[in-house]
Symmetry: D2
Subunit: 464 residues, 4 copies
């Protein structure tokens, strides 16, 4: 009971936070089931909307609070199961299906289909919508979906609920609602602290590291939603430089001199991070990159090149699968490598590289560099996933789908532990050329062909 | 062609308005159908999303512009017909219906229903969503629905499209998205000018009249949507007074002295207006009133009473229907009226009142007042619509549904031409008592019983 | 007493408005002289700062309130006389003067002068400063100076006080504190209403007229002070047009089509108004014009010409003085005019023009136009004030001092009653050429020479 | 030359930053002395205002830039010497003094004094004022005064200049201009970073420490000036607690649980810091504390006590001076201490305490505590400075002047190295009782009597 009263206090928005005693009293008389009633009973009370929609939403706020303070995952699971049980009425659906089948003309069929759609709409959608009016209700829903995705493996009845939530959120987080904001050293510390938590590509170690990434030759942009104003949805970090960057360590070096941004000719997108697990499957990255390219191109006329500096998360795994393949290396490569490494053949040398704790310290690694570079180019330009068509590397697939081109492979691009573990330290630049984005996108999505400079393409094919 | 380029300029948001030549050039290469292609062809191009989602939305912007500048209603009708034709694929729906019917267990049935819902989702929804990213895209969609509602009588295939649009807008205009803002004399003139246009209950005649309505003993609140920040959705005008107000002319008198708002004990909601035709059927009024009651109660502890001063739009029409009914008047009333008016009976006197151009000027109108007041009370408290249950008066039905109570009937409440024409000058107070709203709502919605003071109830029943 | 408490409520800023009972009680114990004590007694209490500076300012707030509600001008006069009496101590000044005279070396003389300056600082300055912490205290001080300027003729002791106030205000309203803001139709109605009140050059008649002046081909800019955020100090109205405008009626025509501002090549400054009488003698106009020229030049690259369309307030008066001068007209002019008007000579015809109620309706006015135009040019380009050097026309003197050039004389430039009364309907364009402003300023201020095109200069000299 | 052009770019405000080429060209024609001209020459050019005030301020901007980039202190000294040389004209002053002496009546004497004041106003004031229009000009002036205070010991002619600057700044930084803002974890990181730099009382060690100080049971408020919006002038840190706090280490403990601020009954002001060296002598602390007390009292009705937890910077030094005084200890104290410490007498034991590197670790320190506490109370309540009247401790003098009372002495209040070094770890609470502030202020300022509880007063007097 008391939680209803407390939730009531904060109902709707901040102005309402210090709600008068008048309305507190009303909340006490809402006659809602006690907080210890079953999930199902409390949900039914919300859906029945006794006392009107405003009261129903007050009850939903109480329900949300109980959910948030539910002690165990098992309680949340029970919550979701109760919620999933508010499905469409099968009898009504059957009747509506019959009407569709029996429709005589186009107009009556269209009407029957519309009715069927309505019949199929599960009541739980209405309850989910009631949560929007809680303060921070949108964040609550997003986090609830994240919980659901973690738990839904335990009950097949939850999958349809998850799909409902994704549908609702996709509607509310449509691009048309998002706000692009620049983040810099004048942004609220509370927001910057979140960036630190969300940055997963190249960890932010200290506030000094963070400040360096927000300096005058850097840019950081994020999408925000008007109902989650303090929560970034996705953000991208950009460095303004001269010429393509090939090393993320150099980019993040706090002691490197700051470039006058007016002298920059290239913008390097070196980290892009989704922040909300609960928005998985709702994609913002493509649009964010293009918005930022546009903004930068407009603000700084000197910028001519827009490129990423990207990790290659699947390179090592692929190479491990391939390391014994007889055609991995050309004869010449094999010979030269074997000689340098003192192994029976080149494949064995590759094996040594893969096995080494610090591969870049191998004395003959210099000899291996051209071979590894070629293999990396092959992996990026030619290797496909199971469908035999899309790029095997997931990051590569993302940028190629967006209309980017594979531009350059960088040896010693990321010498961090993570970089070595994933890709033997290689990184790659994907280049966004505004004039070609459409064509590249079509070519890749339509025919699976990947854009890359001829030289890189030739390299990938072993020089042929 | 050229309109695509122009729309592109304003794409997404204001920051993007001065988009660089870079992207203009891209727009030119979008390869979209020319602006003179058929509506259907251009819609298909948007839906196919050639060149990626960002390009598709650029094309949708071009399409929107063509729609807005379409010269004739007939073009818009064709637009809607083309749009409606992007319906769900019937074969896919049939297969999905079969899967639902054939499902063996609960889990597979739930999954099949979810798939059927998806199969039923018409592609035109996706296109409608693409319009959100245009600048002022939300207003565009709202106005488009207003157009559609005007035109859909001409083609039964448009009804399902209208339902789709309502569903989308209901989602986007959910209460959780709305912002309550106070409007006063410091608000932008452009916004105030819109109020003047939208006020339909008691017309605002001059800027001086408007300023008077925003004075320190007045309040005006509106709901706004974050993607239509300069467009009120609904607004309410409130007067802070001492005791219940019974005359709107007194409330709007520009020469009346201004009350120190701290002395007020009563808030009178004297005008509430929906502003967007395209949001018909999506209800904000109930929630707005309750939010404003809460705000005011908190801000001004002296306020004890929250009431409307409302028109009675259906009173005259009802009375005209009843004017010959033998039991309209009690014997006593009939006699006294006939005597005063010099008519054969009371009903004839009522007929004279209804026929008079200036009924309040009839010399014997004073005699008629108690009778008319009783009839008005009867109309409000007892008369029902066709369903034999809900209040016949539409404004009455709205407030009773919200949990208000019929408090007082006011003779000479609105002596304007409109007031006399609708209700012979009567107005009514509906009282919102925060402690009773739930109960009254339930009693009315559940059992059709209307809250009113005993005396008024007795009056309505003819003193019995 | 009670007014102190009330003033206390609003002390310092808005956050403090709802100050707690705690501090109200304190105010009650301030022990300040009662509100009915003499002005002098209450001022002394403020200056003594009993209880600390914060308490002193609370007392000053009470004093300010008493001033504002003082019933009669005579009370305000008494207030100023009391205030003026808090002058520097003559004995201290005498001693300090002696120290200056007796100083032996540069350093001690500098020190002695600094001490003398301090000795001369009248205590009333401190009290004036205490008023700044009242809410709207800055506006209070500005209005107080306006009062003082009206009243100071009645007592010579008030002149020094007025000079003190000007000095203080000049410091606080230094250019470095002012904010330039654009005013448009989205500005608060309360602000726009003030514009209507302050516009004195070309009266704003209706809200429609006002809206027309803020349309997309118009600009309005004003200076604001951070402590008077809702009060414009000075504002300028600009029209964006093609070519120089010569008629203010055309500029203000509400029915004239709106120009796409990107097509404009000329910005016409057609009205500039000081808003605060209490800031007389502190000049903002020069700076405002130059700031706006800069802003516009940057925003709209198409603008090439920046010019005023200005009234000529002294033309008629000058012409009346000259109307009998034998050398007013050339022989040819005199003959032609006399013939047209049927008068003995041209001077008599000029007399008729000056005497006519509607001079532009005289049937032979067309004949008079070239003569009047020449006389107007002569008035502007050659006529001087009493010092024999500065331009006789005050508006002309203002713009010439700012570095503008007399560009063109416009017949029928302002056909309003005021325009005819002041200048027989003539207006003039003063042109601001950013490349020449410095030189023109120097030439005018240094040598009294006025910039004008050769043709205009020749015309002014009677064609010689 | 070129620096003028550069400064011109940013002239006046941000809108003007991207000033058009038009005005750049103008700047080039300003005809100002080259940047390598003498300071004096360039200053004269500013004061002569060739080309008008706007041009003069452009030149002043160039001058400011040269100052800021002046390589050596010696250049700045030369700058100040040049500036100081623009003093009032002695001959004019002499004549004006003669007029004052010769004035016959009150009115003419008042006028003569006003003229003398004007004659004494040094031209350098005008130049200083011209700097206000530079972007960040106010900060420039504040920092310039800080420079001047460092350098003025080298030339007695600079003292009058410093006084001029203080006068100007005191005017511009009058309380009426200051904005009180709360600083919390949502404040810009750039601002929080400044706090870290400015906090001198209890150093902020890490961002975590900082975040802890801005948690929900903490408050931080600062004064800002509208022309230095990103620079705090002074800030105060407050802890919301239950009962008086006696230990700053407990307050700053990051692991201490966070108190629900609604449960707090006491606000502890535990750190107050001036941020701008260049505003020395212009006092904000008194007003800040009272403003914050008011705000908190209003926001949280539960707060009953407002107190500082303050350092006692002079206690150790005083004790060192006193340590051999025969009457420092009572006989009893001396005996007990000597016994505990194994010293000949109590004074020697005190000497050991003062000499110890870690006095709190002395095994018999527990015995010394009551004695030291009494001595500390005596220092605070009774000891005076050289004038024999004001409190010897500077922090004590500040709070007593503001109307606070000495409330409690806290053993182990600050066990940091600094705390031990200054005050053997003692801290003191000064209590602000809104009802008594005036009286206490008057009693202290008027008669030098310090408010303290009777028990503390008795303790200070050695129990008598």
């Amino acid at each position: 009971m008391s939680d209803v009263a407390v939730a009531e206090v904060g109902l709707f928005d901040r102005a309402w936070k210090r709600v008068s005693l008048l309305w507190r009293d009303m909340a006490a008389t809402v006659g809602s089931p006690a907080a210890d009633a079953s999930w199902e009973g409390r949900m039914r009370a919300c859906l029945e909307a006794r006392g009107g929609e405003v009261s129903a939403r007050a009850r939903a706020a109480g329900l949300a609070q109980s959910y948030q303070t539910a002690p165990e995952a098992v309680d949340k699971l029970a919550f979701f199961q109760a919620l999933a049980s508010f499905d469409s009425d099968f009898k009504v659906v059957e009747a509506a299906m019959a009407a569709v089948s029996g429709a005589k003309d186009a107009a009556s069929r269209a009407a029957a289909k519309a009715k069927l759609r309505q019949a199929l709409e599960p009541p739980r959608l209405k309850l989910l919508t009631q949560f929007t009016t809680i303060p921070d209700g949108m964040k609550f829903l997003v986090d609830m979906r994240a919980d659901l995705m973690r738990l839904m493996g335990q009950d097949p009845m939850l999958h349809a609920l998850e799909r409902d939530m994704r549908g609702l959120l996709a509607n509310w987080f449509d691009l048309g609602f998002l706000e692009l904001r620049r983040i810099d050293w004048s942004s609220p510390a509370a927001l910057l602290e979140k960036l630190v938590g969300y940055e997963a590509v190249h960890k932010i170690r200290t506030w000094r590291d963070l400040k360096n990434r927000l300096d005058s030759d850097r840019r950081c942009y994020a999408f925000f939603h008007p109902r989650m104003p303090e929560e970034p949805l996705i953000f991208v970090e950009v460095a303004l430089v001269q010429g393509l960057s090939g090393s993320v360590q150099k980019l993040l070096d706090e002691k490197a001199p700051v470039l006058d941004p007016r002298m920059a000719d290239t913008a390097i997108f070196y980290s892009i991070n989704n922040c909300q697990r609960g928005l998985d499957g709702i994609s913002f990255g493509n649009s964010l990159i293009k918005r930022v390219v546009t903004l930068l191109a407009e603000e700084m006329r000197g910028l001519k090149t827009f490129s990423t500096l990207s990790p290659i998360p699947g390179f090592r795994r692929w190479l491990e699968e391939q390391k014994d393949a007889p055609d991995l290396l050309t004869e010449e490569e094999s010979k030269s490598l074997a000689e340098a490494a003192g192994t029976p053949d080149g494949n064995a040398a590759i094996g040594l590289v893969l096995a080494a704790r610090r591969p870049l310290s191998l004395p003959w690694i210099g000899k291996a560099e051209p071979v590894l570079t070629r293999l990396c180019a092959r992996y990026l330009v030619l290797e496909t996933g199971k469908d035999g068509r899309r790029a095997r590397d997931p990051v590569g697939h993302f940028h190629l789908s967006n209309g980017a081109r594979i531009e350059r492979v960088n040896w010693r691009g990321d010498t961090s532990e993570k970089g070595l573990k994933e890709s033997l330290g290689f990184m790659v630049n994907y280049l966004y050329d505004p004039m070609k984005i459409e064509d590249y996108h079509e070519a890749y999505v339509g025919e699976g062909s990947r854009a890359a400079p001829t030289s890189l393409r030739r390299l990938a094919r072993g020089g042929r």
